[in-house]
């Protein structure tokens, strides 16, 4: 299974917790610290690398502050083959 990760723009997150609700593996939690707006931002806690980069959290985030990355198979270019 492809591996993924997310980056939450901490300063822009409003701590609404909707992303937590849709992560199929329950990998998102709220941080213990506050951002400048006074919200506890979302963080990915993924020690076992279970995030697949499915983008569901980003689809749900009302503030569009989640960027998603996924490891993707690529064809080696002839130079490396």
């Amino acid at each position: 299974m492809a591996k993924g990760r997310i980056k939450v723009d901490e300063a822009m997150c409003k701590g609404c917790e909707l992303c937590i609700m849709v992560c199929p593996y329950g990998l998102i939690e709220m941080a213990d610290h506050f951002n400048a707006k006074g919200y506890k931002p979302a963080v990915l806690i993924d020690p076992d690398q279970r995030c697949t980069g499915c983008t569901l959290c980003a689809m749900m985030c009302p503030d569009a502050v989640i960027t998603v990355y996924r490891e993707t198979k690529i064809k080696p270019s002839p130079a490396y083959a």
């Binding site: 917790e17 569901l56 569009a64 996924r70 064809k75 490396y80």
Partner: protein, 271 residues
């Protein structure tokens, strides 16, 4: 960038990390003033994604409402105008008629459209204006602190219906999609929601179609979107989504209320 695992892998597979989702370019970097979890933001995001995908950012003009979305012109990286309360369809009519090559959309709440702006929306739809309208129905006047809207549900407790909406006195909540679909000038009128991933995907498709209708010169397109107001509903963001599903969807059924033949023939409709 995660690197390669290619040593003696017979099929020579390489893995590289790719960005698969990022904030749409059509949204500005300005943080919205919407309350945490309010789906106004989510709907902005879907509109932004569609503007990017259709490649129309340079020629799109937004018309903002009065309501919580009053500062919308700051949140999209497109040109924009601000209408007086309820008058967005009239303003969009004028802009589109003098700038027909631009893509003009309004974004209006239920108070904005269904009470003070009822005349403007009815006549814009009746004339078949070639504009795109997003109607954000959260069953309340959000911006002014949670008063009863024309769309508030029977029995719904609001600031101005503290004992629940009394339909004996106020009549039943108005169903805008059904009403506007009955007007011959309307080409595309649908209702969607954004309370879970499935409905979010369906909403995005409809938003895309509503822009494509305008791009094809096919007339008036409106997407009603059931939306949350956690603050005035006095609920968590997550409970608000459940409230949409359990209380709003039964009264405001999701579906296509008008898809004119000219819309059915559009290529890639809502792809």
């Amino acid at each position: 960038m995660v690197d390669v695992m290619m040593e003696k892998a017979p099929e020579k597979v390489m893995w590289a990390e790719k960005m698969v989702y990022e904030r749409p370019a059509a949204l500005s970097d300005i943080p919205t003033h919407y309350c945490p979890g309010c789906t106004h933001g989510l709907i902005h995001k879907l509109i932004g994604e569609v503007i990017d995908e259709l490649g129309i950012r340079q020629r799109t003009i937004s018309v903002s409402p009065v309501g919580c979305a009053v500062f919308m012109y700051d949140y999209f990286d497109v040109d924009g105008a601000e209408a007086a309360h309820g008058r967005a369809p009239a303003m969009a009519t004028g802009i589109k008629r003098v700038q027909p090559d631009n893509i003009v959309f309004t974004y209006q709440g239920d108070g904005d459209m269904a009470s003070i702006g009822m005349a403007e929306i009815i006549w814009a739809a009746t004339r078949g204006e070639n504009i795109t309208v997003f109607f954000v129905n959260n069953a309340i006047y959000g911006m002014t602190g949670g008063q009863m809207a024309p769309t508030s549900l029977p029995g719904q407790v609001t600031g101005s219906s503290p004992n629940g909406r009394d339909v004996e006195m106020t009549g039943m909540p108005i169903r805008m999609a059904e009403l506007l679909a009955g007007l011959p000038g309307a080409s595309y009128v649908v209702r969607r929601s954004v309370h879970n991933i499935q409905t979010i995907k369906q909403a995005k498709k409809a938003i895309r179609t509503a822009f494509q209708v305008q791009m094809a010169g096919a007339g008036f397109a409106l997407v009603e979107l059931l939306s949350s107001c956690p603050t005035n509903w006095k609920m968590t963001a997550a409970d608000s989504l459940t409230w949409i599903k359990e209380n709003m969807v039964p009264y405001y059924p999701l579906g296509d209320y008008k898809v004119a033949d000219v819309v059915k023939t559009l290529n890639n409709r809502g792809k």
